[in-house]
């Protein structure tokens, strides 16, 4: 076991530090389905997604574009248009049921019960309003305070997220901020109402690497101070190792692996997760050919029957019969460890990982 855990990036140790907080779930998603009717048919963006997240913990949702990670998080925020999205299942945030909530209640919930930061701060901030104006608007939406009070609060938040000279900067337009500062301002805006749930949708993707690290640190710091639950959507496994306690791997609208980050990244049990790890190039040692996952993600209009991953799975022949193509596996514990679950018919995935995958990893 020791050689597996040492393979995990060193930064995982920080998860041990942020670990803790109550185990009672603040966010509880149960059997969530999100579908979009289109002219070509029903797009099944999220199918049967369940997870829970207590305060003080960070869940990373990982997956390719179109795996349903953003769509499911938009559903948590109640951001889907009821006219275009069919949503069923249950999403409970702090005891409040979000699925089927009326527009007026959703307005009250958004920003105060949960807040979201987006991928590209350049396009996510309104170009014609000042940073301060936008933060003040978010604050005043949930607090009946005067403009000057809201302004004081905006300056305080800008200062908190590390914007230098916030008194002057509060009057700047987004284009007068650098990329990293814009994302800091976005974070300030999201946290201005002290939400207990923060959803970060690839918040570092549009930033350069050094700024990425600063933003990740900032989010981790703020999480500790505010004691909030964080859902972190990303496709960058390095970021996951850096920031997350738990990890949820999504494929074609379903969770295919879920558990503590050091276990999922240390000894993954699903062939798709193996493929993700094998697609990371080694930065040190002899250059070796990558071992990418063959094929392309399926169309959400026609998700493959059985296990959605079966057309691309190189271990399909290990499962007797045609179970892979006919029967969708459940997301259940596959080994003695009940703290983690995966959605795969393979009988001894941990053995395959140890003997066949691990030697291939860089």
């Amino acid at each position: 076991m020791s050689d597996q855990t040492s393979r995990v990036p060193q930064t995982v140790t920080r998860t041990a530090r942020t670990r803790g907080g109550s185990e009672e779930a603040y966010l509880e998603v149960t059997d969530l389905q999100v579908q979009f009717p289109t002219a070509d048919g029903m797009v099944k963006a999220v199918q049967g997604l369940s997870y829970s997240l207590p305060l003080g913990r960070t869940l990373a949702i990982v997956g390719e574009s179109g795996s349903g990670k953003s769509v499911s998080s938009m559903a948590v925020m109640g951001l889907h248009d009821a006219k275009t999205a069919r949503i069923s299942g249950s999403i409970k945030v702090g005891g409040q049921q979000i699925v089927g909530m009326g527009e007026k209640d959703l307005e009250k919930f958004r920003g105060s019960g949960a807040a979201m930061i987006f991928q590209d701060p350049q396009s996510s901030l309104h170009p014609y309003f000042t940073i301060g104006d936008q933060i003040m608007e978010a604050y005043r939406a949930h607090h009946g305070v005067s403009k000057s009070k809201a302004r004081t609060r905006a300056i305080e938040m800008l200062d908190r997220v590390g914007i230098p000279n916030p008194k002057r900067r509060v009057g700047n337009y987004p284009h007068e901020f650098s990329g990293g500062m814009r994302q800091r301002a976005m974070i300030a805006m999201a946290l201005v109402n002290d939400p207990k749930l923060l959803i970060a949708d690839e918040p570092t993707t549009a930033l350069d690497v050094t700024v990425q690290a600063q933003i990740l640190d900032l989010i981790a710091d703020l999480q500790r101070d505010f004691g909030s639950a964080v859902v972190f959507i990303t496709h960058d496994l390095g970021v996951v190792a850096e920031i997350a306690d738990d990890i949820l791997v999504m494929y074609a609208g379903s969770a295919i692996e879920h558990g503590p980050v050091e276990k999922i990244l240390g000894t993954p049990l699903h062939p798709y997760t193996w493929g993700l790890l094998e697609s990371i190039p080694a930065l040190a040692g002899e250059p070796q050919p990558l071992h990418p996952i063959p094929g392309a993600p399926p169309s959400l209009l026609a998700v493959p029957t059985g296990c959605a991953f079966h057309p691309r799975c190189e271990f399909r022949s290990r499962v007797p019969g045609d179970r892979c193509t006919t029967l969708k596996p459940d997301l259940i514990p596959r080994t003695a460890d009940t703290g983690r679950a995966s959605r795969c018919h393979l009988k001894d995935p941990d053995q395959i990982f140890q003997t066949e995958i691990l030697p291939r990893l860089p």
């Binding site: 920003g111 105060s112 987006f118 939406a141």
Partner: protein, 325 residues
Amino acid sequence: MLLYILRRLVSAVSVVIVTLVASFALFFLAPTDPAGVICGPRCTPERLANIRAGLHLDDPALVQIGVYLKGLVVDREFETGGVVRECPAPCLGYSYTLGEPVTKLLAQALPVTLSLVLGAAVVYLAIGIFTGTMAAQVRGTPLDKAVVGTTLVLNSFPYFVFALLVVLYATFLPESGWTSFFENPFSWASGLVAAWVCLGIANAAAYTRYSRASMIEALGQDFVRTARSKGISKNRVVYRHGLRAALTPVATIFGIDLAGQLTGAIFTERIFDLPGLGNLVLRAFGQYDLPVLMGGVLVGSVVLVVMNLIVDIAYTFLDPRVRLG
């Protein structure tokens, strides 16, 4: 900013001068003899020569242009048939056929056209932006399709046909005609209302489509999603965040359109019998009244460059990212 405006003004003046020289060349050096037009059918060679001399038509072209341009800043005198008429600067010459200074004719016609075009602008902006914004929000529904279809039909109709239909069938509107606003604001408005409705509705179709497209784009932007995620009301999201972004491109089109309409409202003026710039120029064209035509060209080019400048300056207020320099 001030330096920028100054620079733009200099370039604007040069554009106007080039336009004047070019149209001068086109009109005055054309094969038709203006003196013949003034002289009329019962012309004697002696009278013709007299007129030619009075108009300096025998001078070299360059001298004629020089005299014309000089008149913009210095008083001129005209002599026809022994009568000397003063033409104070800016002098654009005398109308051949009306015997009035061109500046006076323009000054009479300009308020008419301004009233017509600005009034119509209120109509089409109000209808267009309102309908377009509504349609964008119900995109894809039968209502939206009806709006798009109607604007398409209105837009594909030749404007003069549309205007004639309004005159023929919208008889419930007060009779059109021109009264100065300062004389009687009520008759001013009632005399213009038919023309406002006509020009307004015809353009409202285009503005509905601009606003709709612009609004759809704005509502699809990331910052609108951010606004929704903050928990502000839907109306605030749509009108404060969406419309604010959607209006900027519409404002640009409006500025350019306005310039075009100020010089090109000929159909409307003709059909509704309003003595505006279009009618003035059209009449001058028929009678080969060159100084009036030149005056029309001057006003047209000035309006165009000024509107362009105004649009550019307005843009710095509409979009804080734009800096002039």
